[in-house]
């Protein structure tokens, strides 16, 4: 029925919602639907991506909701940047679903899959929407799924991690809501494009305050120092497939929101410099903290913050190259870190002490190989994807003459190399316990797809060059954005 249901970006949100509402019903018919339905949903949104993304690269698709033109109604903006992230999120969602099929055994599974689908759909909504209050609503959808999934497992300390996360997460949403309230009271509108045009109604001092509110609000979700105290606990408490999604999806969506809002509404040099400095501080502190971690998930969590810091530092350069590099770093991080979380869980299980990796090189050679691949990619060794992303970050920094930044990034790379090589060394050089356990093929396949992505980008970095350039332009060209949305 292609005529009856023309494909449009709203399918990214509507299809998972319908599936989530259907899931409790079909679960009563047969338990097997619980696992099948989310997979079908992710496949469907991937299909939507495959059809729509090529169009979005040519010209952004702007969709109205409920038949009202912006600024009265809510609109979706599906440009190169949103398309890139929506496709990435759908793909990661599908891979994590594939992995969870066999690796996720904790009941209630129906609730697990509902929360999983909504985590992805909420993050996708954040990147699609063109309305700031709607963005807040999607941020809450993502956050509440994330809170619940953090405390999903039964063991000790999971609820505590969840409680910490919910405390700081709801402070984040209050800050964002307050920012929206201030903006509305000066401009009387909520549409992002319309807001961008009416920002001169807001006095400069108030603009700085609102920027601060948004920076704290989105910064908490994006794990910017010093607002990231919740992250290591949440990452190590949540089921590993979910941690992979935290690193790959929630952080990226929050970063996207921060970038979009800052560039559209607060394009002064100071805000960008502040973001850049915060990114560098996050990078340095997280990498140093990762060095001391005994728990693998905590180590990956700190490393994840470091990678995000790198992307933020590049983003704050505010040049086309800088945004390009930030996008590259974000995509690289989403793929690699997602893969590392999945590989570690498959090898070491939930209690991921560093010692659990001992001797895995012989027992689980395929997973060990892929972990090594991911570790090398994160460090930035050629010929993996991480090399090109780090290179583009350094180039962008060099072009603006920030040699101190380059030095910092290179220094943290050495720290990164130390702890990742230490973990890799455990795989091959240490003697492990002789316990044998089989990893199901579907889980290995899920990890392998991500590994293939790392190699593909590593050997053919040119293949995503066009997409990243279009994405960077899309983010920086605010005039095109506002004209496109408000053309009627």
């Amino acid at each position: 029925m292609p005529e009856l249901f023309p494909l449009s970006p709203v399918h990214y949100v509507a299809a998972p919602l319908l599936a989530a509402f259907l899931l409790p019903l079909v679960a009563k018919l047969s338990r097997s639907f619980i696992k099948i339905l989310p997979g079908l949903t992710f496949l469907y949104v991937l299909y939507v991506s495959a059809v729509l993304f090529p169009h979005a690269l040519q010209s952004p698709i702007i969709e109205q909701i409920a038949g009202w033109a912006p600024p009265l109604g809510i609109n979706l903006y599906y440009g190169p940047m949103a398309g890139l992230f929506a496709s990435l999120f759908s793909a990661l969602g599908f891979i994590v679903w594939l992995y969870s099929l066999t690796q996720m055994k904790q009941e209630p599974l129906d609730r697990f899959y509902i929360l999983l689908m909504m985590l992805v759909a909420g993050a996708t909504g954040i990147v699609l929407t063109g309305d700031i209050f709607n963005l807040f609503v999607f941020m809450e959808i993502t956050a509440i799924s994330a809170f619940s999934l953090t405390a999903f497992l039964r063991e000790d300390d999971k609820a505590e991690a969840g409680f910490k996360y919910i405390l700081i997460g709801s402070l984040a949403s209050t800050f964002v809501l307050l920012g929206i309230a201030v903006l509305y009271s000066y401009t009387g509108t909520l549409n992002l494009a319309d807001l961008a045009l009416s920002m001169e109604k807001v006095p400069l001092s108030v603009r700085v305050i609102v920027f601060g509110l948004f920076l704290v609000g989105f910064g908490i979700e994006a794990e910017i120092f010093p607002l990231n105290g919740w992250a290591p606990d949440a990452y190590s408490a949540a089921p590993a497939p979910v941690s992979a999604l935290f690193a790959g999806i929630t952080v990226k969506a929050a970063l996207y929101a921060l970038a979009r809002v800052t560039i559209l509404l607060f394009p002064f040099a100071g805000s960008m410099a502040l973001i850049s400095i915060l990114g560098l501080v996050t990078l340095v502190i997280s990498e140093l903290a990762a060095l001391h971690q005994k728990n693998l998930f905590r180590m990956l969590a700190y490393s994840s913050m470091g990678q995000v810091g790198l992307a933020i530092a590049a983003l704050g350069l505010f040049t086309a190259e800088g945004v390009y590099a930030a996008l590259f770093a974000m995509i690289n991080h989403a793929i690699v870190k997602g893969m590392l979380f999945l590989a570690v869980f498959a090898m070491a299980g939930g209690s991921a002490n560093l010692d659990n990796l001992n001797g895995m090189g012989r027992k689980k050679p395929v997973l060990s190989f892929m972990f090594t691949l991911g570790a090398f990619a994160i460090i930035g060794l050629p010929p993996f994807s991480g090399f090109w992303s780090k290179l583009s970050v350094l180039t962008a920094m060099g072009q603006t003459g920030n040699y101190i930044m380059i030095a910092i990034v290179l220094a943290t790379t050495i720290v990164e190399a130390t702890y990742y090589l230490r973990a890799t060394g455990r795989l091959y050089l240490s003697e492990g316990s002789p316990v044998e356990s089989k990893t199901p093929l579907s889980a290995i396949a899920a990890v392998a797809v991500l590994a293939a992505g790392i190699l593909w980008i590593g050997f053919f970095p040119g293949s995503i060059d066009e997409i990243l350039t279009a994405g960077a332009q899309d983010l920086l060209d605010t005039a095109k954005y506002t004209e496109g949305v408000l053309k009627d």
């Binding site: 009563k28 929360l115 809450e140």
Partner: protein, 230 residues
């Protein structure tokens, strides 16, 4: 020391929030889109209550998200408390017979009030969220008033699923027969009548069922995990 730091932080946040709002005149119109909503609601959506037309029609996508948030809270709560049972030693005082009889007698009236409020959401103050909450308070009264009362979870979950599906399907039908998701494709009718404003009352009734079922489910789950029964 910690107290001093906290006070300083509070003062800092308070001062800057106040600065941000000091320039906003109180009691004066700051409307831009608000004006358009007020002027177009009756002719364009058929809903007399502007807040309802904003919530369900102009910004209906927000409301779909909002319903989802509540659904997720119910789902997440069930996941977090899965398998937990109250212990027999945490027994609570038994309800008096006045409370039991009163709860049973009042329950239908409360449900009726809730239903009235969500059916008339587009005409009078109120709507699906308010009506649903009222119904949930009726269930709360039953939980408190009747010993060993348990809501029928299977029924509640079917209700909330069907209501959620109604909302999304209404959206998709808008896409299929109109141009956009959630578009109001039904005739608007005469403003002020119960059967008017197209899909707005249908969606709001679905929201009412959904909110009522979800909140009742949440209350019952919390009660049965904390209340011990022999």
């Amino acid at each position: 020391m910690k107290k001093l730091l906290a006070t300083f932080l509070l003062g800092f946040i308070g001062f800057y929030l106040y600065t941000a709002f000091a320039g906003v005149p109180f009691g004066e119109s700051k409307m831009k889109v608000g004006k358009d909503y007020l002027e177009t609601t009756v002719p364009k959506t058929g809903a007399v209550n502007t807040v309802t037309s904003i919530v369900v029609n102009y910004r209906g996508f927000d409301t779909l998200g909002e319903v989802t948030v509540l659904f997720l809270a119910a789902t997440g709560l069930g996941a977090i408390l899965f398998g937990m049972k109250g212990k027999p030693e945490d027994k609570h005082r038994e309800p008096s017979s006045i409370l039991t009889t009163g709860a049973k007698a009042l329950f239908p009236i409360i449900v009726l009030l809730g239903a009235y409020i969500f059916i008339h959401g587009h005409l009078t103050p109120g709507g699906g969220f308010q009506g649903g909450t009222i119904i949930a308070t009726g269930v709360l009264m039953l939980i408190l008033g009747i010993k060993k009362f348990h809501a029928n979870h299977a029924l509640l979950s079917i209700m909330e699923s069907l209501a959620g599906i109604t909302f999304v399907v209404a959206g998709i039908l808008g896409l299929a027969f109109g141009k956009t998701f959630l578009e109001n494709i039904l005739p608007l009718g005469t403003p002020g009548q119960v059967f008017s404003a197209g899909v707005i009352p249908i969606i709001y009734v679905a929201v009412g069922f959904k909110v009522g079922a979800e909140l009742a489910g949440v209350l019952d789950t919390m009660m049965s995990t904390t209340r011990g029964e022999e």
